[in-house]
């Protein structure tokens, strides 16, 4: 089978590749039930229903650019980009926190834009450029965003951190001097249960060289308590 080619320009899915949502939307209840037992049956059902060319259900060759280097692999149409990055490339920096596009821990950059890797079928990124957290400090040192996250302790357990770093990186490339409101908006698709958001705001602004606002001030009152 020929590798799927990605349509040029934009981050959208090529017309002949079906997104996870469109896949479900396009199927009737009967077909969804069938999915429980036979992916081949679903493929047949889809072809019948939509008249579109289908791929799979087995593995399909896939090529894209990963952290600046062209890579070749194969993936089943139902595999997410996140699963392919983690299982087939061993890149475990992007985390699975929810597997349904709500926590942001799996965020990677697709042609420079932050996306939830758990909500992208791997085959959709054919021909595209994917950046992961592992690609951010290739020269051995930390990027300015990473260094600011460490300096301002914008993390605790660290599980959500790669996602926040990727989104902040994308934000600062597009908008090198964001306001605090813009940082909040950019990071609004990320969850952090340790509650490190106050320091994340501070780190993002510091990485941009923007003066820190009033969010999260602190004093240590040694012998000054009487």
């Amino acid at each position: 089978m020929k590798p799927i080619e990605r349509s040029s320009g934009g981050a959208g899915a090529p017309a002949h590749v079906v997104s996870r949502r469109a896949f479900l939307r396009g199927l009737g209840t009967a077909a969804v039930t069938a999915a429980a037992t036979s992916t081949a049956a679903v493929a047949a059902e889809m072809e019948k229903a939509g008249g579109e060319a289908t791929v799979g259900p087995g593995e399909v060759p896939l090529e894209f650019v990963l952290n600046g280097k062209p890579v070749r692999t194969a993936a089943e149409p139902r595999e997410t980009l996140l699963d392919v990055l983690r299982a087939r490339f061993g890149l475990t920096g992007a985390k699975e926190g929810c597997d349904r596009g709500t926590c942001g821990a799996c965020t990677v950059l697709l042609d420079g834009k932050p996306i939830y890797a758990c909500m992208r079928l791997a085959l959709e990124v054919a021909g595209a450029s994917i950046e992961t957290i592992e690609g951010q400090s290739l020269a051995g040192g930390l990027s300015p965003v990473q260094a600011a996250f460490v300096k301002h302790d914008a993390l605790q357990c660290g599980f959500c951190t790669p996602g926040f770093v990727m989104t902040t990186t994308a934000l600062l490339r597009a908008n090198p001097t964001p306001t605090e409101a813009e940082v909040r908006r950019a990071c609004s698709g990320h969850l952090c249960r340790c509650g490190s958001q106050p320091h994340i705001i501070r780190a993002a602004l510091a990485a941009a060289g923007v003066a820190t606002t009033t969010t999260s001030t602190a004093d240590s009152l040694r012998h000054d308590h009487a």
Binding site: T37, K95, G97, T102, C103, Q146, D153, F159, L221
Partner: protein, 709 residues
Amino acid sequence: MPEWPKDPKYIGKSTPRVDGAKKVSGAAKYAHDVQPEGCLYGVVLRSRWAAAKITSIDLAPALKVRGVKAAILVREGSRQVRYYGDELAAVAATSKRAALDALRAIKVVAEPQPHVVKEHLAARPDAPRVFAETPNTGAGRERKQGDPDKGFAEADVVVEGLYATQVEIHQPMETHGGVASFKDGELTAWHSTQGISGVRDGLSGALELPQNKVRVLGEFMGGGFGSKFSAGVEGLLAARLSQAAGAPVRLMLTRFDESLAVGNRPSTFQKIRVGARADGTLTAFSMESYGCAGYAAGGPSAGGSTNSGFPAPYIYRVPNFRTRHTEVSIHAGPAAAFRAPGCPPASFGIESILDELAVKLGIDPVELRIKNDPMELRQRQYRMAAERFGWAAKYRKPGSSSGPVKTGVGCAGSAWRVPGGGTQAEIEVSPDGSVEIRCGTQDLGTGTHTVIAVVAAELLGLTPADIQVRIADSRFPPSGASGGSMTVTSVTPAVFDVCTKAIEELMRTSGLADVRGPQWRAACRKLGVSPLVLQGRWIDGLSAAGTGGVQMAEVEVDTETGFVRVKRVTCVQDAGLLVNELTARSQANGGIMMGIGYALYENRVMDSTSGVMLNPNFETYKLPGIADVPEIDVAFMDLLERRVMGIGEPVTIPTASAIANAVANAIGARVTSLPITPDKVLAALGKVPGAARDNPHDAWMSLFATQPA
């Protein structure tokens, strides 16, 4: 008596976390990320019924799916399930896809039974029973002090109220689970846990393996908040699957699993009565309360305080009180220890009614607390917080701000008292001067790695970067679980001990009068070819328990939409002797953020008809996010003489109470149950046609009607 250095270079200052670079670069490997050669993918099959008798589970069709290497039952034979999400079976396969295909192929035959998932319905005598042999409500526990009747008779005013708190779910970003690998009769488990020793003991016990054949590792873990003390059903299933398949197995729960089955903070229902003199002095307190820890107190994944009890009248001095607490069981997932178990619900009840009392007496809420708080330190904290926050200018008569968006302020206090101990550590000093400290503790994100490096650097006269910290390996000298805010109080005295011993030994071998700092390398060279390895243990006198804190919150409430926004939070926290200010500040911010979630958003929603949890995901179980970040002002009281203390739990206790009081102050009406959602705000304002102002209470009142007080 050992003493901390008086003029420290690193202790109490801000050191960026020593493992920060790994965490920001994706290099930190969590249990979630460990991929040994040939690792299989494990998944758990869960009950679709809230209550049922499982008569048979056929794994054969699953084993026929291509790529499946093992399928096992959680328990053999016929069994009872008591909640939607109860574990039934598990599968390991060569890929996630194959594992999920296999899960769907398993055939389960069950006889569904009646269920009950609401506390007030479960308390009825005719309710379906969670355990056939016992009623859903326990006998209740009573506590009494002084003469409550006399205390109420002496009161000039008496205030009554009914307060309720919801079930909150831990939701760490990394779900529960890990990777288990059997090789040559030994088990290695990379587990996402707050207690590697406990997981080791749990796995060895359940699998009947000698403890020296089980190794548990967890250098990085993605949050626990009290829910990750044990191996859990998932940890045991991963190990059994690995045994059955002869290959390593990774079994991490899905977010759906995580929401249902691995712990939560119990709900509470508190009917409180408080009596006071006209000057605000409390004379009497009585409380009848119910709490629900799911299908049973404790549970397979639970650890620590897993029942629904809570302290009352919490931090306040009341000479006469009577409390009675009763547990209610429902068909829902079990509770587990959750950041300051019992305290946030306890705080919500007492702090709410104290503000009601303050309004009735016309006394400033801060003054009322200072009058009745027996802790002198916290009395000072109220004054400090009031000054930082600008309380005097901000506090006004409830509901008196003009316009549709009203502002209000509230305050609340906290206490926490768990002493540390039970930790051993080891130091290895090499002839080249390098230092490694090994300790079987773990880092939940609180900064244990960094705290150890800071203490060792301080004592040895080195820099934190010079110290190689190795933790979270059950082969290292043992330490306890990280709970009760006692990691720092348990670990730092043991590190102090090994460093002190290393200095003494180096002085002896080198003949130098001082081996620290500039002399360190020269002294170490005298070791010759063998490194110096020494063990030490927790020693008394360096850490303490009994911290206090105060928080104040300012909110904006839109009286047209019911939406609440937290504008500012001031936190004054006794931090004992602060070890690392930067990471402590992160913990305080985190406690406040978690408190905002508890106050405004988080709630497990159960459906009576189906017995199912309706919001087992992040779309509908709402966590606070970056948009919710208020202006936060944290002031640590850093007092050398108070010795090292943990603050991770106390910093989250008063936040929700302070916010709830601020909302009541803003709108002049009280939302008496958490979370304070817009619908409740509008109902409290009388803006919901046909709805009572305290609508949920109609149902909850039946709880108190079913049992004699």
